[in-house]
């Protein structure tokens, strides 16, 4: 503790789990935007990651509200926000944004995309698996050209609806922080936009990591055209994201009046490692320069000079650094905004506990859980091209 803080500011109310929540929703929105590149914008190179991106978004979306439930306590009451919707509360309306995104966007798109697979697997499988796949078809087993054509068209339309929905999902998270007028570290109309673009960056980087690691574990060759394209989009998204962040940062410092002194102390002291070292240098500048040099983002010649194996490793390293950087962004927003007193005369400290509902172990579990769910989803619904089942003649 340093200087004067009010008694109710000594302990931070929004802890590590609230850092995790925007991080996870950002990954969901980013992964979905990546999927839409293949589906709506017809970027052929990233097609190998289309289904993987959708399943990644689903796995992380299932886990995204869990940190909130653990933080609030009484998860058994959570359904009440649906039963008695409070339209005046932005936080309460998140339940509906979440339900819309899960039920109407993600599950529907995955269902239309996988329906043919479900039907064919239900025919081939035996035992309980047969019934699981049949249940997943919802009884819709028509595989005629007309029906498959409808699936494709419906999937495309849902993706088009899904893009603004993904923007809404993560823009909302930024909206919550940006609308806290009393806090000069949060209050900014740019907040939803900055959150959104950092979400896109983190989502692309996550799918890139999962794609490269999963392909290596499966003993297959990484499709370098796909990896190059992902790295290129990651670079472009990072340029936009970095520019927006800098704009937000400069605007925040320029706009702040009496708060400028405490914000300077915050940046130079409490947030120096997480903001300057982790977020800006390691999480943004290093990957940005590496991708600019190695990936075909700026010039196709760049890729020729670096062997594919090395390029792959650099992409993986950059994507991991990006994850560190984006997590640091969430940390700096959520924790940073609570480290200085509303009196603007003092700073407090945050030390995450190890055990307990809001501890490091719990946060670690929430980071690992989506990967376990993703592993299960990949087992039931393989997203890889070689697992595609040819339509049998009796269909």
């Amino acid at each position: 503790m340093q200087g004067y803080i009010y008694p109710n500011e000594f302990e931070l109310r929004w802890s590590l789990l609230i850092v995790l929540y925007p991080y996870l929703t950002g990954l969901v929105a980013g992964a979905f935007i990546l999927a839409s590149l293949a589906r709506v914008f017809n970027v052929k190179e990233v097609e190998p990651t289309y289904r993987l991106a959708l399943l990644t978004a689903l796995a992380f979306l299932i886990v995204a509200p869990l940190p909130l439930l653990a933080h609030l306590g009484h998860p058994e009451r959570s359904y009440e926000i649906f039963l008695t919707p409070n339209r005046k509360s932005a936080m309460a309306m998140f339940g509906f944004v979440y339900a819309w995104y899960l039920m109407v966007v993600l599950l529907l798109e995955i269902w239309f995309d996988y329906r043919r697979d479900f039907v064919l697997r239900a025919r081939e499988a035996t035992g309980p698996l047969k019934w699981i796949y049949y249940a997943l078809t919802l009884g819709s087993t028509d595989l005629s050209d007309r029906a498959l054509g409808f699936d494709d068209k419906a999937g495309r339309w849902i993706t088009i609806i899904g893009i603004p929905s993904a923007f809404l999902l993560h823009g909302y998270v930024g909206f919550i922080f940006g609308s806290v007028k009393a806090n000069p570290w949060w209050s900014s109309v740019l907040m939803p936009v900055v959150f959104l673009f950092s979400a896109i960056v983190s989502g692309i980087a996550l799918v890139l990591i999962i794609y490269i690691v999963a392909t290596l574990f499966r003993g297959k060759q990484v499709d370098m055209a796909c990896a190059d394209k992902l790295a290129t989009f990651l670079f472009y998204a990072m340029v936009v994201d970095f520019s927006l962040e800098m704009l937000d940062f400069i605007h925040r410092l320029y706009e702040s009046e009496e708060s400028i002194e405490i914000l300077s102390q915050l940046i130079e002291g409490r947030l120096f490692v997480s903001l300057i070292v982790l977020q800006m240098v390691l999480g943004t500048l290093v990957p940005l320069i590496s991708l600019g040099v190695v990936s075909p983002a700026l010039s196709w010649r760049g890729t020729r000079k670096v062997p594919a194996e090395v390029r792959r490793l650099i992409y993986l390293g950059c994507a991991l650094l990006v994850q560190v950087g984006i997590f640091s962004i969430r940390w700096n927003v959520v924790i940073g905004g609570q480290l200085f007193s509303k009196s603007l005369r003092g700073l407090t400290v945050y030390k995450a506990e190890l055990l307990g509902v809001e501890g490091l172990l719990m946060a670690g579990a929430f980071v690992i859980l989506p990967f376990i769910i993703l592993w299960l989803l990949v087992k039931i619904m393989p997203p890889w091209a070689e697992n595609e089942i040819p339509t049998s003649p009796e269909a």
Partner: protein, 242 residues
């Protein structure tokens, strides 16, 4: 209509019916009548047994104390703030006695120095202020008054006087630092009191060469403060001033 649309329609219809049924079964009848809560909750809470007797119930038996308190600085503090909920005592005065807190930790819950409290509110540093002596030794909780008789300045500058009273300068009379001609009392806005206009004034006690008690903090007047007057950085009445 495509088969998929029909099947999805059925699935969504089932979900919608389950949702409506859940709403019907789980949302309390009186929810939303008077706001975003169960209106009957007010009655449920009102049905809880009373814990507090209320100030009037105390005054019936403890009239002299109630009258004394009603004219004091604690007139706005209800008896049960310090003595705890007393409904049981009011019902059976002989058998249930409410507590009377006498330990030193109790009064500083309100009167311990805290930067977020109003600056005119009487506050002390419990560590430095007469340690080990119970507050009641000097202060009557039913008519609390500072043990020092207020000076003439305090009549108008009560807030500053209260603040100074718990600061490092508590023992200094106002006139040590301020020149206040008698005319100031008659026409306070026309004839203003003076305040130190040289650095050497504070240096009289705080300079390294000053002849003053050794516990007073010292500074090097030639290098410290960059030419500003001392009180431009160190507000001398403030308890937190270092």
């Amino acid at each position: 209509m495509p088969q998929q649309v029909v099947r999805l329609g059925i699935a969504f219809a089932v979900l919608a019916i389950v949702f409506m049924a859940a709403r019907q079964a789980l949302v309390p009848d009186t929810f939303g009548e008077t706001g975003h809560y169960r209106a009957a909750a007010v009655d449920s809470i009102a049905a809880y047994p009373l814990q507090y007797a209320g100030h009037d119930a105390c005054a019936v038996c403890h009239r002299p104390i109630a009258e004394k308190k009603s004219d004091s600085n604690h007139s706005g503090v209800s008896c049960e703030v310090c003595h705890g909920p007393a409904a049981d005592h009011a019902a059976a005065p002989g058998s249930v006695k409410p507590p009377a807190p006498r330990e030193r930790g109790f009064c500083p819950m309100c009167h311990g120095y805290n930067a977020s409290r109003p600056s005119g509110f009487p506050q002390i540093d419990p560590v430095a202020h007469n340690p080990t002596v119970p507050c009641m030794t000097c202060h009557d909780p039913h008519a609390p008054e500072p043990p020092v008789i207020p000076g003439a300045c305090r009549a108008c500058h009560g807030q500053i006087a209260s603040q100074k009273g718990v600061s490092h300068h508590a023992t200094l009379p106002c006139l040590t630092c301020h020149e206040a001609p008698d005319e100031h009392k008659a026409t306070p806005r026309l004839i203003r009191p003076g305040k130190p206009d040289t650095r050497d004034f504070c240096g009289g006690c705080h300079a390294e060469a000053a002849v003053s008690p050794s516990h007073i903090p010292r500074i090097d007047m030639s290098t410290h403060g960059d030419g500003y007057l001392c009180w431009q950085c160190h507000y001398p009445h403030h308890p937190g001033t270092e």
